[in-house]
């Protein structure tokens, strides 16, 4: 070999990566096999009309949610790209926060705002029904649009300033701007973000469970849960799970080549966009602002304004509340920490393995994972400790795609900038991490940890299946209060979840900053 490296030696050197990949794969597959073993000789057929309506609704709500979020995201991103105003940065941070907002908090806000007696719902006429497709779409749009805004805005802002100057000189109108500049800029990023959001909506559990409307507005994921928990029918559950898996897998296989392709990098920052002064631009931006107010600002204001102080004191004196805080904290810290370690090992090389496994995880229904794992540990007569441990493991797995999504581009950029130097200097893996990846990725690691923590404490799918009635997390408590329509008290639980997430985010990112500055100077 010209470079003095034999492929077999290289594979051997990468053993930690393959070990972790094996671990993740077995964590994904073992629960599935455990469930399959329940099938035994059973050949009872599925009730097809029911399954058909399930599949249809699952795909339909995911498709509508994705397209609506993408369209609104595009509208918002273009508005943000051409306008500078006071509070723009704040608004962007707020949208980022909405993306990681625990789904149950969003559900609560949507319910309080859009129920027929709610502040917006009362204007929507007699025919308005929140539960069902409407509620699901509202919650999904709230949660997923910010991701589109981020991706689209980044693409628009990376457009070379020269293009915009030329567009101005040539007098492009809004439509030409879109067709000749914006669309080509956004297009390469589309398959991956559309697919990600589609998969998230396809396997969405919390939102559909809380806002779905009976058997006609239920997705496969929720039907699997209902089959397991209420109908005690693991066979039906396995069949539905396989169906969902097959559905999601065949859809993503179609798009896999596009998903694995790295985005073309661009550097330049943009100048002022030329089309801001036109009437059409003002109209679009007014619509963007109206949507922002209606969907992202008003519902949260409704939550804030409905908080009742007298309810807080008894809650803070309730030992069950503090037990839930403790479990949530353990769950969040454990899952986020574990997932970062696993992702970092998997991200060795170009990180394609991490990406592939991520999509595998996104495809796997969380309730299937939880149920299968539960079957596996059942013979051990699991106590609260073991259940929490399993919850941590499962959530570490479930949030890994997000960690990979955040860390991989940053690591690839570093390899691109410094890979040759590191090779020339003969730095080994440890030295590369010690001196380059670790210090440069610290801020990204802090952010990824925060995001994973937020997602893990909001988990309901795995928690609902594994928790005992005595065991509690903040999300579980909130869900139970929602179910029993104790909305005013639920608001405080929602706040607790958000405050916990914000505090941990703040602490971790602060630590990353201080540590980075102390050890490596202020250069980064």
């Amino acid at each position: 070999m010209a470079n003095g490296q034999h492929p077999i030696m290289k594979a051997l050197r990468d053993w930690p990566k393959w070990l972790v990949a094996g671990l993740v794969l077995s964590l994904l597959l073992a629960p599935l096999l455990a469930l399959l073993s329940q099938l035994g000789g059973q050949t009872q057929a599925l009730h097809w009309p029911y399954v058909r309506s399930l599949v249809r609704f699952t795909l339909w709500q995911a498709l509508l949610s994705t397209l609506l979020s993408a369209a609104i995201g595009l509208l918002l991103a273009r508005m943000l790209a051409r306008r500078s105003f006071h509070g723009r940065t704040l608004l962007l941070s707020w949208l980022d926060a909405c993306f990681v907002m625990p789904s149950l908090v969003v559900v609560l806000a949507v319910v309080m705002t859009f129920r027929p007696s709610g502040s917006v719902g009362q204007f929507l006429g007699d025919g308005w029904r929140l539960y069902g497709l409407n509620g699901i779409l509202l919650a999904h749009v709230f949660l997923e649009t910010p991701l589109f805004v981020r991706v689209f805005l980044a693409r628009l802002q990376q457009m070379p300033a020269g293009y915009l100057r030329q567009a101005r000189l040539l007098g492009f109108n809004d439509w030409q701007m879109w067709r000749l500049l914006d669309w080509p800029a956004i297009k390469p990023a589309l398959p991956s973000v559309l697919m990600m959001v589609f998969l998230l909506c396809l396997t969405s559990f919390t939102v559909v469970l809380s806002l779905g409307g009976g058997p006609r507005a239920t997705t496969l994921e929720v039907a699997i849960y209902q089959a397991l928990r209420f109908e005690f029918d693991p066979i039906q559950a396995v069949k539905l799970a396989l169906l969902q898996l097959g559905l999601a897998a065949s859809l993503s296989l179609l798009l896999l080549p596009a998903l694995m392709r790295p985005l073309p990098a661009s550097r330049s920052q943009q100048g002022l966009r030329p089309e801001g002064q036109r009437l059409s631009a003002y109209l679009q931006d007014a619509l963007a602002w109206a949507l922002l107010l209606l969907l992202w600002l008003w519902p949260i204001w409704v939550l804030l304004s409905n908080a009742r102080w007298p309810l807080l004191v008894p809650l803070l004196q309730d030992p069950a509340y503090w037990q839930a805080v403790r479990s949530s904290l353990l769950l969040g810290l454990g899952s986020a920490g574990l997932t970062l370690v696993l992702s970092l090992v998997l991200l060795g090389g170009r990180g394609r393995l991490a990406l592939l496994l991520s999509y595998g995880i996104l495809l796997m229904p969380a309730v299937v994972l939880a149920t299968g794992s539960f079957l596996l540990i059942w013979p051990l007569n699991p106590g609260a400790q073991l259940r929490l441990g399993l919850l941590i493991l499962l959530n570490a797995l479930l949030v890994m795609p997000f960690a990979v999504k955040m860390l991989r581009p940053a690591k690839l950029a570093l390899t691109q900038a410094y890979g040759r130097q590191m090779q020339l200097l003969g730095m080994n893996l440890w030295q590369r991490w010690r001196w380059v990846y670790w210090p440069c990725l610290l801020p990204n690691l802090g952010q990824a940890f925060g995001l994973c923590f937020m997602l893990a404490i909001a988990d309901l799918a795995a928690t609902l299946l594994l928790a005992t009635p005595q065991m509690n997390t903040l999300a579980l408590m909130l869900y139970r209060l929602l179910g029993s329509h104790q909305l005013p008290l639920a608001i405080w639980l929602a706040f607790s979840l958000v405050v916990l997430g914000v505090l941990v985010n703040w602490a971790v990112q602060g630590m990353a900053k201080v540590w980075g500055a102390k050890r490596y100077g202020a250069g980064h």
């Binding site: 010209a2 410094y418 020339l424 200097l425």
Partner: protein, 223 residues
């Protein structure tokens, strides 16, 4: 000042060295004696940077031989080969301090012996970096960053320094200063030098050899 860095010396030879990609072929033939300077010229796409990648080992040769001091370089990994490389940009780690960047040249673990620390001080001194040792490289000017990279290359004590238009991103005066410094150091330390440059007329009088690349073929001449 007494010389504290010693370099192995030897003849660098490329014999019918060939690189093929996408139906195109590049051939290189030259032999550069120890301590000499060679200018590599040619239009864009003539294969100048490809030659440097071949030498360093970033890309494998399709055929031919590459020797240094009689030893075949083909089986050696990138860091085992006798080359340091300076490109237009991305030569230093921006988040590390000047001292740390230099230390990486001595050893990638950054654990330096007393002798290596002395070497680092000496090199920092001769490059005018002594006052900047604690500063992160991100807060240096482009010219200072290239000096750090040069210092690190010296500390790595590789007998051949490859330069890929290292000063093209600098302003005229800074580039001129850096170039003079480079040639002074070359005379002092005695490493061989291969430089890709578009400033043929300005550079030729300073060089010993020229390798001109045209249509995939190299013509090697002594100046």
């Amino acid at each position: 000042m007494a010389q504290v860095i010693e370099l192995a010396t030897g003849l660098l030879e490329a014999k019918q060295l060939c690189y093929a990609r996408e139906g195109q072929q590049w051939h290189y033939d030259f032999s550069l004696p120890a301590g000499k300077r060679m200018l590599i010229t040619g239009v864009s796409g003539a294969g100048k940077s490809t030659l440097l990648d071949l030498l360093v080992g970033f890309v494998p040769a399709s055929s031919g031989q590459l020797n240094f001091a009689g030893q075949n370089l083909a089986p050696l990994a990138v860091h085992q080969r006798p080359f340091s490389l300076l490109s237009q940009s991305d030569n230093v780690f921006l988040h590390l301090s000047v001292a740390q960047n230099l230390a990486l040249g001595c050893h990638p673990s950054m654990r330096l012996t007393a002798r290596q620390q002395q070497q680092r001080q000496q090199v920092a001194g001769s490059l005018g970096l002594l006052g900047l040792l604690d500063r992160p490289a991100a807060r240096l000017s482009g010219g200072q960053q290239q000096r750090v990279a040069l210092g690190r290359a010296l500390l790595a004590a590789k007998p051949v320094l490859l330069l890929d238009e290292p000063f093209s991103a600098l302003d005229e005066q800074t580039a001129l200063d850096a170039q003079q410094l480079l040639l002074a150091l070359q005379a002092e330390y005695g490493f061989s030098l291969l430089m890709v440059s578009h400033q043929v007329q300005a550079m030729l009088p300073l060089m010993d050899y020229r390798l001109d690349l045209q249509a995939g073929q190299a013509s090697f001449s002594q100046l």
